[in-house]
Subunit: 214 residues, 2 copies
């Protein structure tokens, strides 16, 4: 049994990651790929509890503690879910992974990309995605999409605009530094076009079995 | 206002840390030192919640996630309580700090002292104790004291003997590598003798105001 592939989906809030993950799961399964979809933070019991914890606006959590909590949730998700799935030959679609922490905590919270990278190498035992799909949208577009959901914005989502611009720039810099791993997709396109671009990126880079596109 | 001093108390479970911390708080206050006593993991709301979480035997938490959760709790404690106290001139007595993670996670769980040190430098923004009191007892003595409490042993405490011997060895190695910071005290002595030795170590190293001993 060949080891499965890890595909991560990244981008600012409102970029369309969840929609893409759902579409991609169907597209992979249509091609006969056994695939699982997970989200961060969460995916396993301890990580879901950490998720609730980090997102609780009533709780005082500093930037360093926040980065370490995300890393802890990630460590448990890797050990308990991702590694066993990959070892069993499954492909894993993951909504956010290390790049999110580099962008949000390293750049957004200004803790430093390298320091956050070091913590996350420890957390993941250096697991690196086979492919990362980065959905790029103008931060203002992302913000409008979030507001359109009508749901109360969570703590991170209420941060000021400048924070989101730092994150978007960090994502762009990460993609420029690792073009062999990170495929940049224009997230302002309609969902079907985003999905099509994602499937093409997967076919080009991971030798996905051919099949009906999108 | 001169910055306060950070004194950490370390040792295996059952070494007598809590008893010493209580005695030391009185001894410092008797000498006119404004001192606070904190414990790890815990001391502030988010850290207490993380403490409950890590100690819940029903929850599946791997070694890496555990080390990161302890570091997250520590980061919040440093930012929210320890740094403000020290800045205000208070002395802080802290039951466990970074050395605990080096010994328990680095050596006990075999994650590596250096990797755990790196995470903790991030967590604490490199805050280092002015003095560390290491209570040394034979691991079997520690175990018997814990059993004598009659309370159900928590998850960490139920680990096998070899784990505790690795921790005791790591503590000894840390003390040997940093004799200027770590004072080793024989924890098998009666509590009053342990307290006397601790007060002497503080007087010798931190210029504690003179006063009645113990």
């Amino acid at each position: 049994m060949p080891r499965g592939k890890l595909i991560t989906i990244e981008g600012i809030d409102g970029a369309g990651k969840t929609t893409l993950a759902a579409g991609l799961l169907s597209a992979l399964q249509t091609r006969g790929v056994s695939a699982s979809r997970l989200r961060e933070p969460g995916g396993v019991r301890a990580a879901e509890l950490i998720r609730d914890f980090v997102k609780d606006p009533a709780l005082r959590i500093g930037a360093r503690a926040e980065a370490l909590l995300y890393a802890a949730a990630r460590a448990q998700l890797v050990e308990e879910a991702i590694e066993p799935l990959l070892a069993g030959g499954d492909w894993v679609l993951l909504d956010r992974f290390v790049d999110s922490s580099l962008a949000y905590q390293g750049a957004g919270r200004q803790l430093g990309i390298e320091a956050v990278q070091a913590i996350n190498e420890f957390a993941t035992a250096s697991l690196t995605p086979d492919l990362t799909l980065l959905l790029e949208v103008d931060p203002h577009v992302g913000r409008r999409r979030l507001e359109g959901r009508g749901a109360p914005l969570e703590r991170l989502e209420r941060e000021e605009d400048e924070f989101f611009f730092r994150i978007a720039s960090a994502y762009a810099a990460l993609a420029a530094a690792a073009p062999e791993r990170i495929a940049v997709i224009d997230g302002s396109q309609p969902p079907a076009a985003v999905l099509h671009a994602a499937v093409e990126a997967i076919q080009r880079r991971l030798m996905l079995p051919a099949g009906q596109s999108g």
